[in-house]
Symmetry: C2
Subunit: 315 residues, 2 copies
């Protein structure tokens, strides 16, 4: 299911349609962390996040029959944009189920790519109910945001490129974990393409299902909506959890203050826009300095889609 060949094929299948995003270094953050940091900038990826990698790998793996009525998904934002963009690229109808309180800028982006948007109330069971209705009415193929082999294969390209482009053997890679697609993909990429490179997952304390699940070695589901890291409000997927148990070293929780400070520090120092979810890796490194001291550390900056109107910057 998760062979080295499948990861390599996913990368070959999609790489002509995506950006090979840059790897940045920063003397400032190296000093601040006492480590050597390599930032993989998926904020520059098509649609502003890594999600397009898994989408394209999935859509290009479907048969004509499987995708004849288009594709559909649910998502709080980045996966939705990626599905809409990928479907438009391949000339397929796209249906996206989003929470009514999703960021207006993300809803607008989905509509710009001509996808049809349906909304659900943020109450237990509502998302699934709306999704089922959309699938029944359209006959569209459901594309899971994170818990599918083709998605994991696609997301593994981020770490694969980082490993190839860092110019040095990485001691460790830190990856945000929400649903777990890029976490699982990163763990597999490290195991296959850079044996000996460890992987840490980072997540908000306010969405710490992966931390609890990893500690208790069973999948724990939670309700959470208070973290600013809107891309990580999702519970960990079943297959991603199994990969995590096998290949990830530890899960590192970070506070909301650490997330926003790390995000703003990246804006100021690297001069690039990242979203809160993308800042948890750096936040985890800065919080756990002894763990990363002297280490060549890859940090996945997973996306840059942000609604500035949500931030009161006056301090």
């Amino acid at each position: 299911m998760y062979t080295k060949t499948e990861l390599m094929e996913a990368h070959l299948r999609t790489q002509h349609l995506i950006h090979r995003t840059p790897v940045l270094t920063s003397a400032y953050f190296n000093r601040a962390s006492s480590a050597s940091l390599y930032f993989k900038c998926e904020n520059f990826q098509k649609t502003g996040s890594f999600k397009i990698r898994g989408i394209l790998n999935t859509l290009l793996s479907l048969s004509d029959e499987e995708k004849q009525n288009g594709v559909a998904t649910f998502s709080s934002g980045n996966h939705a944009q990626a599905l809409a963009y990928g479907a438009k690229l391949l000339d397929l109808p796209a249906y996206v189920v989003m929470p009514e309180d999703a960021s207006p800028i993300k809803i607008r982006a989905v509509k710009e790519y001509e996808a049809c948007v349906f909304y659900f109330k943020n109450e237990k069971g509502q998302r699934e109910a709306v999704m089922e209705q959309v699938l029944a009415e359209t006959g569209a193929r459901f594309v899971h945001p994170f818990d599918a082999a083709s998605t994991i294969h696609g997301q593994s390209g981020v770490a694969k490129e980082l490993i190839e482009d860092a110019g040095t053997k990485l001691d460790t890679i830190v990856v945000p974990v929400g649903g777990g697609g890029i976490m699982a993909g990163t763990a597999l990429a490290a195991a296959y393409f850079s044996p000996g490179t460890t992987v840490f997952a980072a997540e908000p304390e306010l969405a710490d299902d992966a931390f609890c699940s990893f500690r208790e070695k069973r999948l724990i589901q939670r309700d959470f909506s208070r973290t600013q890291a809107d891309g990580l409000k999702t519970n960990l997927g079943e297959r991603n959890f199994r990969i995590m148990l096998e290949l990830v070293n530890d899960v590192l929780p970070v506070s909301e203050a650490e997330i926003s400070e790390s995000m703003l520090a990246v804006w100021h120092r690297l001069k690039i826009m990242i979203e809160p979810s993308a800042a948890v890796g750096l936040a985890a490194v800065l919080r756990n300095k002894s763990l990363f001291e002297g280490k060549k550390t890859g940090i996945l900056l997973t996306g840059g889609n942000i609604d500035l109107s949500a931030f009161p910057f006056k301090r």
Copy 2:
């Protein structure tokens, strides 16, 4: 004074100490402008702006005797950071005279590079008075922020690299004008390295001394402090004005709303941080669409040093 050889020597003299910053393109901004835009990203330059180019060319051109007591300058921000950084790199003492209301983040950056900071009140003659006192007491060499041949030679490297890296012959280049160092350097670089490429200068309506001077063909000095583009609050220098009259096609003023909209659009769409002064080129292109329609247009994003606490983003 401004030969092709001098421009090439300045680039050779400094390029090992600076970044060759990337040139970005954007399908979104191409659609929005009906042009093909090439963004030269000096926000990624050492110290966060192009200013380090002129500084290093100047410092490396000074004799040991000329710089034996260190170097000094006045600046509202980016030039100050660049002088402090350049002096530290070459192990020289640095003295910087800044307005008391300069951005706290810029003052902090200057101090981080270990320069000694002196403040002046924003009243006529105060800057010069403090500067003279500092020079008398320290014996430091004065380094002008924009109106010196070695500075202009250094700044010309931005357009030279853009011309070399765009991958196509540019029809035109749009450059912000404040004191005029990078405007003059860009005009010279276009004339020498890409004959036939026109140059437009862009400036805030609230700091339109270059616009008025260009129209009346005489240097007009003004007082202005209300533009958010803090890097462009300076009056045009004498030698830069002469180069402008000879080599620049026109000066395009833009409103404060156009500046902030263009800046935020760059943050959102290119996922990079630029400061207000860096947004005037794009603002001018979007305001004067008929002038740039179908044109391969280089836009100089001059810097990315921003104090987020100054921005109320809640809209």
